[in-house]
Symmetry: C2
Subunit: 198 residues, 2 copies
């Protein structure tokens, strides 16, 4: 019984792990279902027993990855401490994920491109970025309410912080040797928060 119900989950995990490896090596379009089958140690047919198709593999992957990041941020909003300390904690947390991000982010970019053409993908990212901005927004409001930050448009600040995060990460990915991700993220955050400190 335990095995019987556990099997599908185990197989899904096994397939997703293989898919992550293959997608991050080859990208979505270049990746072949045969490669994923081989990497997973299962047959191609088996993939279709657990997932309806190639697209489902990538969306499941991205969804779980982005959800984890969002979940951490959610926790921070309800934690004690200054906005500064909590955002620094967020940066440090993300820094720990940098290696897995290097595998996932190229796939995100392929999907950002798709998002700008396909309704369904667009809704997915719109919701993700929306929730991300809402959490930042909420934290900034806390900072203003507690007298840590100046009166300022919280949404605008949230967009600046989120945008810097996205953009700096992109620049870093393009050439990781030119600067240290964590140091740059921290100094950028400090600069913005200094400008907004009371």
């Amino acid at each position: 019984m335990a095995t019987r119900t556990a099997l599908p989950d185990e197989r899904k995990r096994q397939i997703l792990e293989a898919a992550t490896a293959v997608f991050s090596r080859s990208g979505y379009h270049e990746a072949r279902m045969d490669d994923i089958a081989e990497a997973s140690g299962l047959s191609k047919g088996a993939l279709y027993l657990y997932f309806p198709g190639k697209a489902a593999l990538i969306t499941t992957l991205l969804e779980s990855h982005l959800d984890r990041s969002l979940h951490f941020m959610q926790g921070l909003v309800h934690r004690e401490g200054t906005v500064r300390d909590r955002l620094l904690a967020y940066i440090r947390h993300e820094a720990g994920e940098l290696e897995s991000m290097r595998a996932i982010l190229p796939l995100c970019y392929e999907f950002y491109a798709a998002a700008l053409r396909e309704q369904e993908v667009a809704a997915f990212f719109k919701s993700y970025f929306g929730r991300y901005l809402d959490l930042l927004d909420q934290m900034i409001r806390q900072g203003i309410g507690r007298g840590e930050l100046k009166q300022t448009d919280p949404r605008q600040t949230a967009i600046l912080l989120a945008g810097s995060h996205e953009g700096l990460t992109l620049l870093w990915l393009m050439d990781p040797t030119t600067f240290d991700w964590t140091a740059q993220m921290e100094s950028s955050l400090q600069l913005v928060l200094d400008a907004l400190a009371v």
Copy 2:
């Protein structure tokens, strides 16, 4: 004679225009050479008389687009005025290109993804971002030298500005209704420059 030598250029322009339309509608991978042929009013064979293949179409397109943006920035570095005014001018210039950016940027993202896997594409973007950062860096040094900005690490500031630009544009593309690109870019720039003003 005039017509004879002008023809290849005219045809190339005609093909690139069609390619822009088709690529921005369908993306690089989904776009078919047959579609581009039809959109250009030429036959598929003719495309191969003027370009060696599909890849050459997209690289030519992106190259000319990024070069134009870089060229404008280059001009700004040698222009009179404060750093603030010149960067505001840059934002206003880019704002004017927003519509054509909406067609081109999805392709960029597809290529960012490719850049993270393929040596040749990586070199292309590395060089582009490198030159972009160099120009910003140079302008910030001018600001420091002229007493407009505090002593600060110019590279770090350049990375923050360039990163914000990239990231804010990405967020905006994902949902252009949530905020105004120009207003957000300007307020972000003002905040950063205020923090660095003497």
